[in-house]
């Protein structure tokens, strides 16, 4: 079987809190099934390889985001083509915001996004902080920790990742969390997101294998610890 390649975009500038856990979860859940894989780190000014099967982008400090936004515009058509052709993508927090139409920040004005998602985000005075529980049609219960002052809204047609049961999600008003477009996900859930939500991790891996032109039925793993951690986290204030 051909190696599955994950592009981790901007690990130096966009991995503020626990984003390492997301790529680690993807790697390990492939390793445990003997699926060869590699994480390629792509920094500002570097090219995304043409033969990648999965893209991940994490969250960053506001200051780092401006440099990243400019670089992301140069990669925009490649990322859009990848997603349009069914390529899986996960974006968290700051990365999620930059994949929308634009983000209006407090300190740096309007930052142009790449318009992959039909969303806009604006800095607000509310810091949305805390453990968050989301119910998703596709994945069931999702848990994480959110910490953002940017509020995200849909423009035009967009599907949320899920409905907020506890916490804020996209914004303080509509009880929706994240977005899902084709096989691309945007979310505010840190925690790290994938280790405690293994269904999402496995779904991303399945799409990556499919996108690589291969077929393979994923072996079930023992997720007892993952599920216990999720149940405990859902109960925390």
């Amino acid at each position: 079987m051909k190696k599955i390649k994950i592009a981790h975009l901007y690990p130096e500038r966009m991995s503020i809190y626990g984003d390492h856990g997301n790529t680690l979860a993807l790697e390990q859940r492939m390793n445990w099934r003997s699926i060869k894989n590699e994480v390629v780190r792509v920094e500002v000014g570097e090219k995304i390889p043409n033969d990648i099967d999965l893209i991940f982008i994490g969250g960053g400090q506001d200051k780092g985001q401006v440099v990243v936004a400019n670089d992301l515009l140069k990669k925009a058509s490649q990322i859009r083509d990848f997603v349009e052709s069914g390529g899986p993508l996960l974006s968290v927090c700051g990365g999620y915001q930059l994949l929308g139409e634009y983000f209006i920040s407090n300190d740096y004005g309007q930052i142009q996004g790449i318009g992959l998602f039909n969303i806009i985000s604006k800095a607000t005075d509310t810091r949305m902080i805390g453990n968050i529980v989301v119910q998703s049609e596709k994945f069931g219960q999702l848990v994480g920790f959110e910490n953002h002052s940017g509020a995200t809204e849909f423009i035009g047609r967009a599907n949320p990742l899920g409905v907020v049961k506890k916490g804020y999600g996209n914004n303080p008003n509509d009880k929706l969390e994240g977005v899902i477009y084709k096989n691309a996900i945007g979310t505010y859930l840190h925690g790290s997101f994938l280790p405690k939500n293994p269904k999402v991790a496995d779904w991303l891996i399945r799409q990556a294998i499919k996108h690589s032109g291969q077929t393979l039925k994923l072996k079930e793993l023992n997720d007892e610890l993952e599920n216990s951690a999720r149940k405990f986290a859902a109960k925390r204030p």
Binding site: E12, R13, S15, I16, Y17, G18, D19, H20, G21, L24, A25, Q28, Q61, D62, K63, G64, V66, V67, R127, I129, G130, N131, F145, N147, H190, G191, S192, P195, K196, L225, E226, S228, A229, F232, A233, R236, P237
Partner: protein, 458 residues
Amino acid sequence: MRSLIAILAAKAASKVNRISGSGGSSFPGMVAKKIDKDILQKLVLNNFPKGIIVVTGTNGKTTTTKLIANMLDEAGITYVHNRTGSNMERGLISSLTDTADISSKISAEVGLFEVDEAFMPKVCRAIKPETIVVTNLFRDQLDRYGELDKIARSFRSLFEDLPGANLVLNADDPLVASLGYNLENERKATYIGVANYNGPKLKHDYTADSIFDPFTQEKLHYTDRYFSHIGRYRGKRGGFSRPKLDFMAEDVKQKGIENIKFVVNNSTKAIKLDMPGLFNVYNSVAAFATAKIALEISDKDINFALNESSAAFGRSEALSYKGRELLLLLIKNPTGLNQVIQSYLLKEKDRLLVFVINDNYADGRDISWLWDAAFEDLSDYKGKILVGGSRAYDMALRLKYAGLKGVSVEPDEAKLLEKIEKNSSKRSNIFILPTYTAMLSMRSKIVAEDEKAKEYWQ
């Protein structure tokens, strides 16, 4: 008059605390501030003839403050300092109302305070310190502190408002170093750092944040990175670079987990510190520089104080429990935890290892940081591992993804202590790594048990 009532009320509150053995050390401060909102300012006015020193930064506040206190003791200078952990506004007020007489007079010559990063602007604008020490700035409890850059900006504007203050800054941390860059009126910061370091390093360090020029966002070039974003670096010609060190440690040598040796500013005598870890070398050099520039303490007194120093409360503190030797190593953020891994766990891989991870407010509600720590470096750890605390399962999950096996989970603290006993033999050495609130509760249970055992044998 208002301040007199405030002081009396705080003293009364403090007495109640002592008699009942309950209540936090911030309680008297809270009472005093309710009565007189300017009480902090009034308590320092006309006091402390030799100045006020404030120590802040993500890691090392408590230890650096303790080292400076030891130097003051050695030099025979009297001082007031805040008790461990009480580093927010109310805690500071409590420590001052405790020592002030009813006319707000304090007899000590120096005020020495560790101050929480988030409270720096407010506290320092009230007490106007003569010297400010910034140890480092790492990612830490983002739910409480926000982003590093915001803290740095608040410090920069604070320093402009205190034009007379000495600044002691860590040159090896780019963000901290940048705080002394381009100061007004040729004002110069005092820079501390480590000239070179050849000790062990982690292979999986994901905690570096400030590896970019804070002014241009261009990547800095590191000739050597000791840990996280700490090390020797340079920027573009003519731009921001690592400043020249005014106080530097050299010849850093750590053997085992007992102590670390180093030399400061080419002095012929090596300092032997009974607290291992490169981070403690940074704490020592910061304390050294402060003692010299702000207090004019002699090299002899400084060296003596450092050689005699032991770790602060809960930070590498040795306790005995049912015949076992426990080493309590407080962990609060990924960089601090990585330093514990680098200085202790990589050196003694056979010991029973216990993580106790709580997510109470004082610990930070967000435990995402566990995923940034270098547990992958522990893949060949041989000792048994127990995990406890309110987020025991998250911790166990982190270790599972790091590839560690044989991890046992016990969220209940009393049962965890039983498990510790069951999984170790008498006279064995055990590492306990708790978060802040877990450290407080574990420590009190362990100490109580030890006292009980002593009474029994008497």
